[in-house]
Amino acid sequence: MAETVHNLLLGFSVALSPPVLLYAFVGCVVGTIVGVLPGVGPLAGISLLLPATFGLDATKAIVMLAGIYYGAMYGGSTTSILMRIPGEAASVMTCIDGYAMARKGRAGPALAIAAVGSYVAGTVSVVALMFLAPPLASFALRFGPPEYFALLVLGLLVLAYMSSGSMVKALAMATLGLLLGMIGIDQMTGYFRFAYGVVELGDGIGVVPVAVGLFGLSEILATAGQETPPAVIKPTLRELLPSRQEWKDSNWPIWRGTVLGFLIGIIPGSAHIISSFVSYAVERRLSRRPEEFGQGAVAGVAGPESANNSATSGAFVPMLALGVPSGPIPAVMLAAMMVHGVSPGPLLIKQQPELFWGFIASMYVGNVVLLILNLPLVGVFVNLLRVPYPLLYPGILVFCILGVYAVNSSVVDVWIMLVMGLVGYLLRKLEFEPAPIVLGVILAPMIEMALRQSLAMSDGHYAIFLTRPIATTLLAVGVFLVLLSFRPLVARGLDWRARMAMAEKGEEL
């Protein structure tokens, strides 16, 4: 405990230094803008702005990128409440009751509750991250190649299980991502694989052009041609204060959302989306007046908003402690850290304590910045949505091209983004979820290395995965999830994944 407090003080000495504070602030502002703009989610936002951090040292860069991540989580709620347009996917559940509150003239309290809930969840979950990451990292030092292989396979299986809709389709997408990750020089033998003479492909396909293509460009392709967004409900500062009853009704949902969100965040998958869905379902189940849900229940805003912000910190636990991203957004964060010469994993906390604890402390600071920023400036951010879409999307496209090109100063990356944009657009039409592709691309080199090292260790016997307790346990959990996914075939009614898919499509639950 004393050591943790000492380390945290070290972290605050880094986070409160004026330059780091400035970049945390910039990250939060940019993240909020990213969250407010429909179509530019945190994944595309972080990818696009990665080149902007190239001139910075690792600590400032990571603090700024993390600011963009949780800023986007905060900002996503604004458009959900005021326009029924989720700024990013995790805010889908907030649309239901947030917009209903806005139509009843309670837009201000809905925004205030969302911001306070996000602040509480963000702060509490950072405390949990602080205590959980170091022991987990110590435990991970026991991992050899078979354990890492089992962990990575489990990660992909959990992601596939947690995604809304078909697990088979999600696994197919993850496999496609892994195959894309095979392109480039083989790390163990030096062979060029599937590069067809393109020298730039030697280092493999970068996660940034893949993410920007699949999420940024494909969104523009799918939505270009639409009319100007609908009118915005714009509350004044005076209308922001919730009533005593609203505070009371949102108290427990905030705490429950915080705990649920953090726990779900640690598990691989689109954690922030799932956590908000689960929180909404829990609040409706526990409510004394469940009929109010969908009609403007404040608990339907407080719970999901707290949960998705808490999940943001939870997702950092496996990334920082194990070096294993739990979803596409931590995967891009991991890639960003690697660009800055930081290798997240069990040794990070020991080797670069200033960076780790500075990052933790900056999350506390970021949460305060976001609370101050979001409420008084809500009108300013909402005005962004008044820019006509025919002018907005060409501007976003410029940043897509710029962001992708600037990572390696390579036009090959722009071509990759173009191809991935087209693939993402077609996948959207065919109702396939592209997120597992991104995770597959980043995990491919790790998973291949772990498998080949494991087989070399065991002289070619796959039984090595069944003779080591940790690896066996992890794989057993994976098999259990696969079996669990068959449940809807034998049980009546919709399972929670089908209900989540319906909610994402905006259909009635």
Binding site: L221, L391, P394, A406, M417, E431, L451
Partner: protein
């Protein structure tokens, strides 16, 4: 029935077959010393299996005719603009390429007025260059006459 799932399954299966075919050029290795083709072959076989499963359960997916393509003209224009940017970026330089791309999208595709198009295209191209290249020191390509 031709469903979205079945169309996707065929595409994934074809991709898996292409990967298997192309992997012939690489050494497969052995179980105790897997070669560079080992993992791609394993993944391609897995993808083929998953594609068969998607096709088998594909009847539950939406019909292909239900998919809307109303925005295809815009999508084609945007993809064309991206292709132009990829070709021109290192030849014409960042500012000129982006100004032309924006001018095309706003003026031609979205049919906005000439003045608005010019002002927006030049402002965004020059502004983003100033922000990234000058302020943030991210090197962006220059074209003829250092533009």
């Amino acid at each position: 029935m031709l469903t979205t799932n079945r169309v996707a399954a065929v595409a994934l299966a074809l991709l898996a077959i292409v990967v298997l075919f192309e992997s012939r050029k690489l050494p497969l290795g052995s179980l105790h010393n897997p070669g560079p083709a080992y993992m791609p072959v394993l993944l391609a076989l897995a993808l083929l299996g998953l594609a068969i499963l998607v096709a088998a359960w594909g009847g539950a997916g939406s019909g292909l005719r239900a998919v809307g393509w109303s925005e295809w003209r815009h999508a084609a224009a945007i993809l064309g603009t991206c292709a132009f940017a990829a070709i021109a970026l290192e030849r014409l330089g960042y500012r000129l390429t982006m100004a032309i791309s924006l001018g095309f999208l706003i003026g031609v595709v979205e049919r906005k007025g000439v003045i608005l198009t010019l002002v927006f295209a030049v402002a965004v191209a020059a502004g983003s260059y100033f922000l990234f290249d000058t302020l943030l020191r991210v090197p962006l390509p220059r074209g003829p006459f250092g533009i």
